[in-house]
Symmetry: C2
Subunit: 143 residues, 2 copies
DNA sequence: TTCCTAAATAAGAATTGTTACTATTTAGTA
DNA sequence: TACTAAATAGTAACAATTCTTATTTAGGAA
């Protein structure tokens, strides 16, 4: 984790007018220092080593606040509940970030994207899936 | 939902040696007949209209079994718990379908993919995110 | 067809991930 | 140093999913 990330965090949090508690510093320091996309429980266990009385609730609240402030993001479309797809043909998704609507689309080009060389070292790529995120027509109208 | 999908389902389930219960038929019929990526509770409510005593547990078990058999899939990486990402630079992910490991990679080309015309009618695309799925080096070694 | 048995089910309890409540503490300010 | 709104710790509540167990049923055998 770079000093620059920490500085940017302090800056953004000051902007949004929230208090700079040491719980928040340590939680951000933890997640900013790793590249493995951890879950809340993992962050909690690690931060607890330095801040033994921190509560799991604070970890959740802080992560949610950091996301709101645009300092971190979450994997997947939304977090809500597991959603199923009976379309087993190769296809891709347009996802509305407002309402969560997920529509299928087909694109030969996206089915076989050129795999960047960095990724070749990570493992064997079997499928590529593109998620185009934006605002659906319906949400845009009702705005 | 086409008769062909139903036939393929019956075929695959026979292959995997499970019983062809009418709960399973109705649950598959329901999900195969829609394109909106529903969650388990939605499937449950709809199937219940035709099969009033079906249990939510059966819906979960059946969806999980159908996924195992390769007849359906789920959205997102593995929605067991929410995972966080402190990397706010535009980037993409290599995801191991075996262990769930998710690694960042960068690719200018993927940041601005040509949006297919079908998608233009769905809404305004703001970001594109590519998920390359496969087996990570570590999982491949330990196999 | 009838019978048998392992597999599947319904109902409800348990578990797990996440959020809410509330008394106490603290950051930021004066 | 003292004040106050915001944040926290601890715990309870909640919601999604999975487990337990008694009962039912699909598929095969007689
Ligand atoms: Mn789909
Ligand atoms: Mn990432
Ligand atoms: Zn929308
Ligand atoms: Zn792996």
């Amino acid at each position: 984790m770079s000093e620059q990330m920490m500085a940017e965090m302090l800056e953004k949090l000051r902007e949004s007018g929230v208090k700079l508690t040491h719980q928040r510093m340590e939680i951000f320091r933890e997640i900013a220092g790793r590249t493995d996309h951890p879950d809340a429980a993992t962050i909690y266990e690690c931060v607890r080593k330095r801040l033994p009385t921190v509560s799991l609730d604070t970890v959740y609240r802080t992560l949610s606040m950091l996301k709101e402030a645009g300092l971190i993001s979450t994997l997947g479309p939304n977090q809500d509940r597991l959603r199923f797809d009976a379309n087993i043909a190769p296809h891709h998704h347009f996802v509305c970030t407002k309402c969560g609507k997920t529509e299928d689309f087909y694109c030969e080009e996206f089915n076989a994207l050129r795999v960047p060389s960095d990724v070749l070292n990570m493992g064997i790529v079997e499928h590529s899936h593109v998620e185009l995120r934006g605002i659906c027509s319906e949400c845009r109208r009702s705005n």
